[in-house]
């Protein structure tokens, strides 16, 4: 990831239209795509839970949603900074993709309220899984919103005709995206291991009591 950002700053050409501020692209877009991937992964694990009934998927789905919310928050913050440079304002309600991403973020933030408002057990696991699965519908809507809306403010780099940027920028972007996904996967594994250890310790304490 560090290599990708070094290339983005020192090797990739500067954007003719946005200049230096376009460098946020290598940060903001990979973070946003990673947030989508985390939510998608959480929904996949939720589906596995509902399909197989195996309880381990609940913790995996919860952890993925947790990671998704963190990356979602980062998407909103970095997006706001980019908006301030490019549009002169931190936020605009007129942009459908921004609003839809905010809805997606708030939807998954509410997941925790739902989860902790019920007693732990199979019912909570099922409710959380259904909620996580419903949220995934918002991902393609949020992703395609800017293309459907045809807005003039939020730029569309990846279209049906392919990537609308020089190959050097594309290479840097792909490296940064790979790095961000690897970072998310690492944090997911660490978080999941911590949560599993916590559950095992609680069970052990109950056995020893």
């Amino acid at each position: 990831m560090i290599g990708g950002y070094a290339l983005a700053f020192y090797w990739a050409p500067e954007d003719a239209d946005q200049g230096f501020s376009q460098k946020i692209f290598y940060l903001h877009v990979p973070i946003a795509l990673t947030a989508y991937a985390c939510f998608g992964w959480g929904a996949w694990k939720a589906l596995r839970l509902l399909w197989t009934g195996e309880r381990r998927y609940d913790l995996e789905s919860y952890t993925a949603v947790h990671m998704g919310v963190i990356f979602g928050l980062l998407t909103l913050v970095t997006g706001s900074i980019w908006a301030k440079i490019s549009w002169g304002e931190w936020w605009t309600w007129g942009e459908r993709q921004l609003v839809l991403f905010l809805i997606l973020f708030l939807f998954y933030s509410s997941y925790f309220m739902l989860r902790y408002s019920t007693e732990s057990g199979p019912r909570r696991e099922r409710n959380s899984a259904v909620y996580a699965l419903f949220g995934v519908v918002l991902i393609p809507v949020s992703f395609l919103a800017v293309r459907i809306a045809g807005t003039i403010l939020h730029p569309t780099v990846f279209t049906h005709e392919g990537a609308n940027l020089p190959w050097q920028m594309l290479v840097c972007f792909l490296i940064c995206l790979g790095g961000m996904l690897a970072l998310a996967a690492t944090l997911y594994r660490v978080e999941l291991a911590g949560k599993r250890a916590s559950v095992s310790l609680r069970e052990l304490r109950e056995l020893l009591a």
Partner: protein, 50 residues
């Protein structure tokens, strides 16, 4: 440093800051788990000893 350079630096620092906070939380969590495990080991030993 131009205004846009300041904002770009700020955006990258947000990620770095968030990562550091996350690492701090994980470190605290691991040390708490370590303490809990030590307590349980002690409790298990006491139970085995009599």
């Amino acid at each position: 440093m131009t205004t846009s350079e300041k904002y770009v630096t700020g955006a990258y620092l947000v990620l770095l800051g968030m990562l550091l906070v996350y690492l701090l939380i994980i470190a605290l969590k691991v040390s708490r788990l370590e303490e809990e495990l030590a307590d349980l080991t002690r409790a298990a030993r006491e139970k085995l000893d009599g």
